[in-house]
């Protein structure tokens, strides 16, 4: 074991600090008094100075290259997002948002029509029926106009089957053109039924809107996360 290894830890620490010149004035004076009296301590100081000098004399090596940073090193102009899946999720959320918006906007006219006031709808139906009534009165022209009636039936049957059936009543009954008022009344009743049915369907819009809002929220959250990830 070396001389330094045989020293008490406290003495070793004091001598090491003494060599570095960091002892307080009082501690230094006390240690110097001991050094004068103890040749072993003086040798220990010499050994510590020797080690310190050996380390200080180690050659320095030049840096093998410059370690300066480029923009890319700190991710300044990284085109790719840090978390690509977030970008993908944002796109998906946005696409679903647009899709639900489109579905909702396309659904609205039909639903509005279904929930329109019955007299107004009846007036519309009456306007559409006038040519048919005229054809009915013309008698032999009925066969020619029948396909048009069938087309109208098909068009309306999709949305309002209960309404379209009575509109054909005059054409199905050539001998009772005067029953138009009755037919109109029936149409009004049927329109009311249709409106009630549409009212039953109305709650279906609520989940659609909720989904739309959820998707919009998801798109915003993913967007913010992506931006934060990019900044990191």
């Amino acid at each position: 074991m070396s001389r330094l290894g045989r020293l008490a830890p406290k003495d070793l620490e004091s001598l090491s600090a003494y060599v570095d010149g960091v002892l307080s004035a009082r501690a230094q004076a006390g240690l110097e008094a001991r050094l004068q009296a103890d040749p072993e301590l003086r040798l220990a100081v010499a050994e510590l100075r020797s080690v310190k000098a050996s380390l200080a004399g180690l050659p320095q090596r030049r840096a093998p290259r410059n370690f300066t940073l480029r923009e890319a090193d700190v991710g300044r102009h990284a085109r790719r997002p840090a978390l690509p899946y977030l970008r993908f999720a944002t796109i998906v959320a946005s696409a679903l948002f647009v899709l639900t918006s489109a579905v909702r906007s396309l659904s609205l006219p039909v639903l509005q029509m279904a929930s329109a006031p019955a007299p107004q709808f009846a007036a519309e139906v009456q306007g559409e029926m006038e040519p048919l009534i005229a054809a009915t009165q013309a008698g032999d022209e009925l066969r020619v106009e029948a396909p048009a009636a069938a087309a109208l039936e098909e068009g309306l049957a999709d949305a309002l089957a209960p309404v379209s059936t009575p509109t054909l009543a005059p054409t199905a009954c050539p001998e009772c053109p005067t029953s138009f008022a009755t037919a109109t009344a029936e149409t009004g009743v049927s329109s009311n039924e249709a409106a009630a049915e549409a009212g039953r369907e109305a709650p279906a819009i609520a989940p659609l809107a909720a989904a739309q809002w959820l998707l919009a929220l998801a798109a915003i959250v993913f967007g913010v996360l992506t931006l934060r990830a990019r900044r990191r």
Partner: protein
Amino acid sequence: MDEAALIAEARRGDLDAFNTLVLAHQTRAFNLAWRVTGDGEAAADATQEAFVSAFRKLSSYRGGSFRAWLLRIVTNACYDELRRRKRRPAESLEALEEASGSGEGIRAVDPLSSTSDDPEKAAEQAEVTRAIERCLGRLPEDFRTVVVLADVLALDYQEVAAAMGSPVGTVRSRLARARARLRECLESSRELLGGEKRLAEGIAQRRAAHPGEGIPKGRTA
């Protein structure tokens, strides 16, 4: 522009200002990394990683010695690099020593250390350097780091404490123990070297007394 102004500019994201700081500190940073890892390649990787990390962490710099703050990042990068490579620095230093013996070591990379005109003295210096490096490599990481910071890079106790993230009292006691261990290791090396030298002298004397003995055929004069 002084260091404080450069730091302020760099904190605002000015990479040129930061690179001026890099150029001012890179030699010290690299030498710390080299002495701690004992491997030039690992040291370069750790130094580069440390500067990237320092730029990103600039907002956490709270004043004081910028050099010490930076060297702490370098020290941590070295420990990470050592763990990543799972290599003991002593092995790397031995590799460096072998390279040095074949003319590719420290003296070859550092012309400042080969200024002696006396070949025998230069050889002695090289031997001492190798012995110190070998002993440094055998120290535990914390001990090696403290002596490199205090004695090789000549930082004061406060800076060493800041660079290691330890109290000054811990630095003081750790430095004393590290120096004692190094002294012991160097004494062992000297005894070993002395023994080798005596052995070499004995062989030379025997050859002089019995020329040709122990020398392969075809190579005798």
